[in-house]
Symmetry: C2
Subunit: 330 residues, 2 copies
DNA sequence: CGCGAGGATGAGTAATTGCCCATGAGCAAA
DNA sequence: TTTGCTCATGGGCAATTACTCATCCTCGCG
């Protein structure tokens, strides 16, 4: 009698433990049958002599206990992981990472296609949207990848002017390239990118046509902007908007990047300086109420991209592995 | 014109290829979102700008193309893989593999519990079944693991006699142990295991009680039998059914194992010899119409188990990793 | 010995997924 | 150009899965 009673009692905690472990064993079994052998939960239930609900619980237990490991055997797996990590770390709405592909010579391989696909996704939406575009070589390359789309319900508006300092049309104003491929109403900004003074900007912005375009851009549902780095071979210098000494001065004051000409420091704050006073671009649309996707990749843009992200100049990002890894370490 | 026409033509296969590859990329993306990120196919569809059905197709494509690899992080994963492989290789109905666990001293650790669980599964079925049991130490250990079950609809019948050569009750006749735990109608076989001659067997089998029990055993829905190895420390000798010289003679004639006393060769064929003529056990129930589960593990039983499997003496197996690996190599 | 907390269970139901089919686009051969 | 073929697409529906809730059981505690 003593032994009989003592046995079960002593065994109690052991039973507890072995029951927990047995439950995990069962969960593993069920998970294996479900994920590896491809059985249905009904089959598992009858095979294990339990109810379908219990089988379901075991399967989800196996998942919850991380007994089931899933991995993706494909080059983009790493990109997707990186994208998700970056999105979480910086609280971005969406992030896309493309392979860095150091072998390819062209600077915009991959990212242009990815950005084009994203633009296309928005343009395929049935409900009318306002899509705003900034400027930049990467963005231009993306737009050049767009297939012919007809979407007469959408409106496409440019955030930046289309006239360079020398009076010619700015090549990298992408809205005209876009108009070639996309059948939609386009609204360019009939302004220089940089004007000579804050006062001139006021005057120009007061024009009816300009004002309505700027107002429309503020209503954008989604915005695509290039992220530019500063430097004497950065786009602002290359395209003749700034002279070398202006650039040097700008960089001394802490500027690390620009979006649509708006220059910001390493924390993504727009600088309060003469250059930004002369930028004639429309303000970047709300990052609270709309999606603003920055596009950029490569070592030279790393600091600019990080700044744009932490300063919430953008809430979406399309970049490459290299930059994504930098953003995770930074 | 020539260039214009040639371009697209030359580009054709390239476009084809890149489209295939792009489709795989999409499949990988969808698969990742589904399996790793845990999104629903609806979410994936709207995120990728496609219909739900297309998302579903991409996900299943990812699986079909083996982009998604699932593995189970649990000790029994290997057992399940082995079991499945053995089941497929030998066309068995069901196979269960338990860890070999070389550290444990007791020979029946693991397999007894597994067999008990399997017996319990059958006994829990609501529809009335006939469950037949053979003999053997392993089976006895399994039955001793059974909890108290009440299943008055089921019938449990023994395939083997319960009297040893010296006239005492055979300890390893498991039906009495089973009766202790399981509330069901039990039908022991009131016979010796081995009789002195084929004629005596005829006489005994002609008895009404014996005949009806044997007939019932032929109707068994499921049968659990131990698989015994031959040898001077095999169960037939240990329990005094055979003398050493009889055993040596048997092994010389090619016998490698026994089930319920029925001795078979390395291909699982029942031997046509004096011993089998004296076995008083009921025939093993049909492997076509019912489930006959053999139980056994360990190096010493390997050959016997392989023979039982290839000779279709059984169509179900509960064994350990060691034997399963041997069966896969053999 | 009764009582409440915690956990497992199964029923029912909502959500999700898998599959079939009609449709139409794209392409090659006639 | 027409015809026939292939294949991707989305609608619709059935199967499968996930979740919620009420209930039951067990265990610990007073």
């Amino acid at each position: 009698m003593f032994a009989g009673e003592g046995g079960p009692r002593d065994g109690h905690s052991m039973v507890k433990r072995s029951e927990t472990s047995a439950r995990l064993d069962d969960a593993a079994r069920a998970g294996w049958l479900y994920y590896v052998a491809g059985r249905t939960q009904d089959e598992i239930a009858s095979a294990m002599g339990i109810s379908r609900q219990s089988a379901q619980r075991l399967v989800s237990l196996a998942v919850a206990e991380r007994l089931i490991k899933v991995r993706l055997d494909h080059p983009i797996a790493a990109c997707l992981e990186l994208a998700d990590a970056v999105r979480k770390k910086y609280g971005l709405r969406q992030v896309e990472v493309v392979p860095s592909d150091p072998g390819a010579g062209v600077a915009t391989v991959g990212i242009a296609e990815a950005a084009a696909a994203e633009i296309e996704r928005w343009l395929k939406k049935p409900d009318p949207i306002v899509l705003a575009v900034g400027t930049g070589r990467t963005l231009k390359a993306a737009v050049d990848q767009l297939p012919a789309i007809e979407c007469i319900n959408h409106r496409i508006v440019s955030l930046t002017g289309n006239i360079t300092p020398d009076g010619s049309a700015a090549y990298y104003n992408v809205i005209f390239s876009m108009a070639d491929a996309v059948k939609a109403r386009h609204f360019p900004m009939p302004l220089p990118v940089l004007v000579t003074s804050a006062e001139e900007r006021e005057t120009l912005h007061a024009q009816q046509l300009v004002r309505s375009t700027i107002e429309m851009s503020a209503q954008a549902n989604v915005t695509f902007v290039g992220i530019g780095e500063l430097g004497i071979d950065g786009p602002l210098c290359l395209d003749g908007f700034l002279e070398k000494d202006e650039m040097m001065e700008l960089m001394r004051s802490g500027a690390v990047g620009e979006i649509c000409g708006w220059v910001f420091d390493s924390e993504g704050r727009l600088l309060d300086n003469p250059i930004n006073e002369r930028v004639a671009s429309a303000p970047i649309p709300s990052r609270e109420a709309s999606v603003v996707i920055g596009i950029g990749k490569g070592k030279r843009k790393m600091k600019a991209i990080r700044a744009a992200v932490v300063g919430h100049q953008i809430n979406g990002l399309i970049t490459d592995e290299e930059v994504a890894e930098y953003l995770l370490k930074a």
